[in-house]
C-alpha cells in the first residue's frame, strides 16, 4: 500500500509539474521566427532578429525549416502553434491562405500595399525576398558560356552531366523553354495535357545526363567538384559562393524563374501582435536594404530596393536587366497540379 500511495504521489506531482511547465512555456514563449537556415538566416539574424530583439527588449527565438504545407498544417491544427512568424514559399502562402492557416496581414501597419511589388502583396503574407532559379555554370571550367536552356540540353556542344532539382517544379518549365517555348508562354503550354507530355518528352532526352539534387547547397558543390558542367541553382547561393570562396560561378538570367518568399503569421499565434510588428520592422526600407550586402536576393519593398548600391544591384533578380526573359513562378499552377505531376514525375524517374 505504501508503494502504491508513494507511486501515486510521485505520479501526481510529476503530472502537476508537467502541466506547470507546459502551461508556463505556452503563455510566456518569446516571439519565434522561422526561416530557411544557412547563411541566409545568419544574415537575417544580424539585420532583423537581433535589432528587433533589442528594440522590444525581449529575446527573439529563431528556428529553421525546410518548407512544406504539411508542417504548417500540423502546427496550426495542433491548437496553439509553437511558431509565430514563418517565411514561406509561394505555394505555401497560397495554400495556407486559402485554408485559413495564417492570420490576416495588417497592411496599414506596413505603410500600405503600394509600397511593395504587386506580387509581394497578399492577404496573408508580406513579400520578404525575390529569388531566382537559374542555369548556372563554373566560368573557370567552361570557356564557352551557355546562354539558354537549349544549350543546357545540348550534350554535344557541352559534354558532361547536368544538375537538376529533383521534382516536377522548375524541371518541366525549363524543359519547355529548351524545347522552344517562349518563357512567357510556358505556363499556358504547361496548362494543357499535351504541354505536360511535351515537357516530359524533352526531359527524356536529358535523363541519362542528369544528376538530381535536393538541397540548395548541392548544386554548388556539384559544380565545384566538376561532377556536373551546368546545373540549376538559386541565384543568392551563386553570388554568395563567389564572394566567400572566390569562385567564378555564373548564372543565365534569360529563362530564369523568380519567386517571392513571404512572411506569414500562423493562425492563433499567441504573439500575433508582436509578430506583425516584427514583419513591419523587417519590411522597413532602412532595414531591408541591408540584406543584399549579405545575400543576393531582391527586395519586395520598392523604397528598400532603390537604396541598394548599384554594385550589388547587378546580382539581384529584381534588377531590370535581369528581368528580361525571366518569368515568375506560377504559384496557382503548382498549387493545383503539384500532387498529380509529382506522382507522374516519380513514375517517370522510376521508368
Amino acid at each position: 500500500m505504501k508503494v502504491t500511495s508513494t507511486l501515486l504521489r510521485i505520479g501526481g506531482a510529476g503530472l502537476a509539474l508537467g502541466l506547470m511547465v507546459a502551461g508556463g512555456t505556452a503563455s510566456a514563449r518569446d516571439l519565434t521566427v522561422v526561416s530557411w537556415g544557412g547563411n541566409y538566416q545568419d544574415a537575417q539574424k544580424k539585420i532583423y532578429f537581433e535589432p528587433f530583439s533589442k528594440k522590444i527588449g525581449k529575446p527573439v527565438l529563431d528556428e529553421s525549416w525546410d518548407g512544406g504545407i504539411g508542417v504548417i498544417a500540423a502546427k496550426v491544427k495542433a491548437g496553439v502553434p509553437n511558431w509565430d512568424v514563418v517565411q514561406v514559399e509561394t505555394e505555401e502562402l497560397e495554400l495556407g491562405c486559402a485554408d485559413g492557416f495564417y492570420e490576416k496581414i495588417d497592411w496599414a501597419a506596413l505603410g500600405g500595399k503600394d509600397k511593395f511589388l504587386p506580387a509581394a502583396v497578399s492577404d496573408c503574407g508580406v513579400g520578404a525576398i525575390v529569388w531566382s532559379t537559374m542555369l548556372s555554370y563554373d566560368a573557370d571550367r567552361l570557356k564557352t558560356p551557355p546562354t539558354s536552356w537549349a544549350d543546357f540540353w545540348d550534350t554535344t556542344k557541352f559534354p558532361g552531366k547536368r544538375g537538376f532539382r529533383r521534382g516536377p517544379k522548375y524541371s518541366l518549365e525549363f524543359a519547355l523553354m529548351a524545347d522552344g517555348v517562349k518563357p512567357e508562354e510556358v505556363y499556358k503550354v504547361l496548362g494543357t495535357p499535351e504541354g505536360v507530355d511535351r515537357a516530359f518528352k524533352k526531359l527524356d532526352e536529358l535523363k541519362p545526363n542528369i544528376v538530381w539534387w535536393e538541397a540548395g547547397a548541392q548544386p554548388l558543390s556539384l559544380l565545384a567538384s566538376g561532377e556536373v558542367v551546368m546545373s540549376t541553382a538559386y541565384n543568392g547561393r551563386l553570388a554568395g559562393i563567389n564572394k566567400t570562396e572566390g569562385k567564378n560561378f555564373q548564372g543565365v538570367w534569360p529563362g530564369s524563374i523568380y519567386a517571392i518568399d513571404s512572411w506569414v503569421i500562423l493562425k492563433d499565434s499567441p504573439n500575433a501582435k508582436e509578430a506583425m510588428n516584427f514583419i513591419a520592422f523587417a519590411s522597413e526600407p532602412v532595414n531591408q536594404s541591408k540584406l543584399p550586402d549579405y545575400i543576393a536576393y531582391g527586395l519586395p519593398n520598392k523604397e528598400a530596393a532603390a537604396m541598394v548600391p548599384a554594385a550589388l544591384q547587378k546580382n539581384l533578380p529584381t534588377t531590370q536587366a535581369n528581368l528580361t526573359g525571366a518569368i515568375a513562378l506560377d504559384g496557382a499552377f503548382w498549387v493545383d497540379n503539384v500532387e498529380e505531376l509529382t506522382k507522374r514525375f516519380n513514375a517517370w524517374l522510376a521508368k
Binding site: 500500500m1 505504501k2 508503494v3 502504491t4 507511486l7 501515486l8 525546410d66 518548407g67 512544406g68 504545407i69 504539411g70 508542417v71 504548417i72 498544417a73 500540423a74 496550426v76 491544427k77 495554400l95 486559402a98 485554408d99 485559413g100 492557416f101 529533383r166 535523363k207 542528369i210 544528376v211 538530381w212 535536393e214 538541397a215 548541392q218 558543390s221 567538384s225 566538376g226 561532377e227 496557382a332 498549387v335 493545383d336 497540379n337 503539384v338 500532387e339 498529380e340 505531376l341 509529382t342 506522382k343 507522374r344 516519380n346 513514375a347 524517374l349 522510376a350 521508368k351
Partner: protein
Amino acid sequence: MSGSPARARVSALLLVAPLFLFLAAFFVWPLVMMITVSVTDGTVRQVMPETASAIGAWDGSGLPPKEVQDALIADLRAPSEQMAFGDAVRRLNSEVSGFRTLLSRTTSAVRDLPPDQTVDLAGIDPRWGEGRYWQALQRAMPNYTDRNLLAAVDLKRDTEGSITADVSANRVIMVRTFTIAALVTALCALIGLPYAMIAAASTGWVRNVLLLAVLLPLWTSLLVRTASWVILLQNEGLINKALIAVGIVDQPLQLIFNRTGVVIAMTHVLLPFMVLPIYSVLLGIPRNLMPAASSLGASRLRAFWHVLLPMALPGVASGSLLVFMVALGYYITPALVGGAEDQMISSVIAFFATGTANWGMAGALGLILLVTTTALYLVYGRLSRSPNMVGA
C-alpha cells in the same frame, strides 16, 4: 509491505503502467491514427452536407441533375469553417488537379451573387460542364475510402468503379526499398560479424579503439557522415584520385549518385547496429568453448562453424533485424548520394506528409510498408525458427 496477492498485483500493475501508457501513447495510438487517416474520407461531406445527400442518387453519367447543382450552390453559399473547407478542397484537388482553383473561383462568384438569383455553374467556370469533377465529388462523399490504399500500390478506381492501373511508381519504389535494405543488411552482416569477433577477442586498448571506431559514427550527425561520403566518392574525390594515382583505373569510377554510393554510405551508417548486438552476444559465450572443441579434435574452421557461429547467430539475427528495419526508413542518404533510381519509399511518404499535407496518402503508404514488413518478419521467423522471435 503486506503480502496480499491482490495488492501485490495492483502494485505490479502500477509499476508497469508507465510502460503501457508510453506504448499506448507513442505506439498504438499513432498506429491506429495512421490506419484511420488512410481509410477515412468524409471531409467533403462535412462541408457540403446538401450535395452529399443529393449526389448519392445520381447515376454518374453525363452531368448530375439540377437538384445536385443547386445543392452544391447552397453548400457553397453557406458559411463554412475555413480550415474544414480547406481539408475538403485538398481532398478533391488530390483526386482531380484543378479542383482547388475551380472551387475557390466558384465559391467567391456564388457568394457575390444575391441569394435569390439563379446561378449557372458552367457559366462561372466551364469545368463544371465536365463530368469528371462531379464524379470526383460523388466519390468523395462516403465516410470510408479505399482510394489511398489503392493509390499506394499504383491502382485507382475508374469512373465505373472498377480497379485499374494508375500512373505512379510506388510499387517499384517499395520493391527497391526492400532490395536496398536487404543488400545493406547482408553487407553489414558480412562486415559486422568478423569485426565483432575481432573486437570481442581483443583486449585492452585495441578493443577500445575498435569499439570507438564503431561508436564514433553513431555520435556524428547523419548529414555530416553522408556529406563526407560525397567528398570521398565523387569523381574528383579522394577514392577516385587515389585509384587513378595508383594506376588501377584511367577514368574515375562512378561511385556516387547511383546504387553503389547509396549502399556504401548506408552500410557505413548502419554498421554499428549490426556490430553491437553481435558483440554483446559474443561476450556472453564462454571462452573455453573453442579450446574444448579443438580438444575434441575439431579443426579451427570446424569449431567456428559448429560452435561459435551457431551461438553468435542470435546476435546476427537481431542485428540484421535492426539494420533492416532502420534501413527501410532511410531517405536522406539516398537523396544525397543516390541517383534518380535509388530513392526510397520514405521520400514519397515525406512528400505527402509534409509537402502536400495529404495525410491519408502518407498513412496508406506507411500502412503498406508496415504490412509488408510484418509479413516479411513472420516469414523470416518461420524460416529461421529463432527462439527470440515474436509470433514465430
